[in-house]
Symmetry: C4
Subunit: 242 residues, 4 copies
């Protein structure tokens, strides 16, 4: 492995710890949920914490897993029950390098409603590519709703298709992006959009959403600004960026 590669995975691991703590601090993750990043050197592997509440994650807790869930280095500590969310989306979507899975309440509400989550705010332009709802019961019948197998994960990845966000009925959502930081950003603003849309609906009038082109232009703009909120979030989460 080249020294540069070594640096890359080192930096990524620090960013992933920051992502865990930031998402916990912002209430996107609570005792459950997880965030991962595609391995910078091995595109068929990803980095994710062992089974642990995200706020508690340190570098020592990170596992490197291949898409069958095998640890690259034999680390056999208990994994999250739903690592297939990550492996199957990374497998299906070569453009994705960061994934967040969250149970945030405003999005759970949309996941169980037939009202669609739509981009009400330029910060969530990424929702312009849709926020489909995956219902595990359609294909798998009565389950505990977890994404426990490759088949579950692959079905979820098919529901996500080319979108950035997929809702999981009665469960939560997944946000995916070309970078870990952008996946965090999208998870944060998915929750924000759900809350703002719920309030707008409750006002009882007509609601105007972003047009598809507005959404895609806003998404492109925001993708270039992620370091600005990241600096703030890192400080709140007690993460040293230096």
């Amino acid at each position: 492995m080249r020294a540069g590669a070594d640096d890359q995975i080192c930096r990524l691991r620090k960013t992933l710890v920051a992502a865990n703590r930031i998402l916990a601090r912002l209430g996107v993750l609570d005792g459950y949920g997880h965030v991962s990043a595609r391995h910078p050197e091995q595109p068929s592997a990803f980095v994710i914490s062992r089974s642990l509440a995200p706020e508690l994650v340190t570098e020592d807790d990170l596992l490197e897993l291949d898409f069958a869930g095998h640890p690259l280095n034999g680390d056999s500590r208990p994994q999250y029950l739903e690592t297939c969310i990550h492996s199957e989306i990374y497998a299906a979507r070569p453009d994705v390098a960061g994934i967040v899975h969250s149970h945030a309440l405003p999005v759970v509400a949309f996941s169980a409603s037939d009202v669609s989550l739509r981009p009400i705010h330029h910060m969530s332009g990424f929702l312009g590519s849709g926020a489909p709802v995956f219902d595990s019961r359609t294909q798998f019948g009565d389950t505990d709703l977890l994404i426990r197998t490759s088949a579950h994960g692959a079905a979820l990845a098919r529901a996500l298709a080319e979108a950035s966000v997929v809702l999981m009925r009665g469960h939560g959502f997944v946000a995916a992006a070309p970078s870990l930081k952008l996946a965090v950003f999208r998870a944060v603003y998915t929750v924000t959009n759900a809350a703002a849309q719920a309030t707008a609906v409750s006002l009882g009038g007509e609601v105007t959403f972003l047009s598809p082109k507005e959404a895609s232009l806003a998404d492109a703009t925001n993708a270039g600004t992620v370091d600005k909120p990241w600096a703030l979030w890192a400080r709140h989460a007690g993460v040293d960026l230096a």
Copy 2:
């Protein structure tokens, strides 16, 4: 008493203090409400704080009471007014080892509404066994709504029946579980479910709840994961788990 038994009650007392502080930290309990555990050595007794705001409870504040409310060791400090919630449910439900009584707002709203609280989220699969509403007025007429007597408590236990949660009209709710930690978990996610369901309803569309089998499968899964959020909650509450 065997040394092992002694260890068991010692550990339980520490967990009960943690439960008090965790529930306060998460806003499930405020200045009122209480949490108890069945006595590990004496199944016809339970452990609960003397009358005190839960966040302030330390080990010195814990009372051990029989089902008539008599302290096992003559400790005559003032008790909560509603210890019969606990004694009567422990008496009626041998499977229950932990009980939380809370006034959390989203659940108070459901307690006063004829809209039923139903499992909208896999984290609250335990609601699949129902969330009946106990209305003290039906049987006892105009009261201050407190569960002050064995008769009140027994009526509440009958309303709970085989469910995990019973709502109390104009008052709050009780969550019960086979372990203290699971009772805390269920209290937390009862509140969460109420908030998510209220948001989902406000969207105006159709809402899909967990099927009975999904709910029971999810409940079984979650019961095995309680230590994960507990580790986080304990840290937030300043509780040392070591």
Copy 3:
């Protein structure tokens, strides 16, 4: 003045500082609003901070005012613009010894709505005596909505009549009680009740409120328990109760 009397005002002043900080900590007061207590030795006077955000109030900031707004001891520091809320209610209601005036949002919402605030929760049984809405425009026409004069204050006191809480249209509310601590308690649970009632209404079903007798019984019970949440609130507000 007797030594006992001296002690009484000393204790009251400490409790009033605590009340200011507690109400700010709980979000009942923000940069505006105020809390007062009837003078324990001089029933035609009351104690209130000089014009200052409640959270910042210390003992040095307290004024003792007669019902004409004159300081008992010549202290000429600027007063709140609305001291007549306090003087006129103390004058009209000899049973009242503590008053809180708040702009808390859920209650502002009810103040501007023709939907009545009603006791949905046993903690707010005091609302069973009604929560009338005072609209300054009815009697005084277009004003800045402040209670600036004795005439305004007297009209507000007439609207309050024998109730514990009066809402002020487009402005906020006043909670009154036979003791300072109970006035704080009632202010806290007025806000709580408004939030729970708004959620219950949003569910779309029938809402059951406390019966008049339930409300009055619950109020009597709660009045005897105020020291329990007070101990917690004081700790949160950084107030030493010793």
Copy 4:
């Protein structure tokens, strides 16, 4: 430059840093949004942070820009993308000396709804002059919704007209005032009003707003009291007022 002038810009810079931190602390600004002040010595220039999350702003981060966006002193650090919000409103409105641009959720909800934001609370009497909605699509078609050019900014300023607040569809709002502190105050209470109005609407009854004259009288009163909440906000934000 006179010594007095020097003092004036020094004080303003300190107040602007405080404004950034206060608005972040109150949740009016998050990682995005900005606040500016007209230059006290050069009325065709304004002071604003370089591109940075508001909570992180220190005096060293402040830029002084003319209305073409050129730094007065050659400081070429990256600017916010939307400085034209500020320059064009200062140019169009000589009475304005402070401007806040925010994405606060309750106001985003109104920005996307055809239900108008109206003054429900005397603290937001400034809304009596209207809260028009600027929709960038009307004039500029599909964009990323940012105010990137003088033309965008001038159109926004025309929509604002003589009001204190203009909503930006799918984006947020701008609050303007004759002083920096009052602009902060208005931004805070715009958010508050949106939240209270949304709750009032959700109750389902008739809502009474301030009359135009009540609104203007309340606005005049409040403008004289800004130092009271400012002292509190500054303490919360860790700003030294001495």
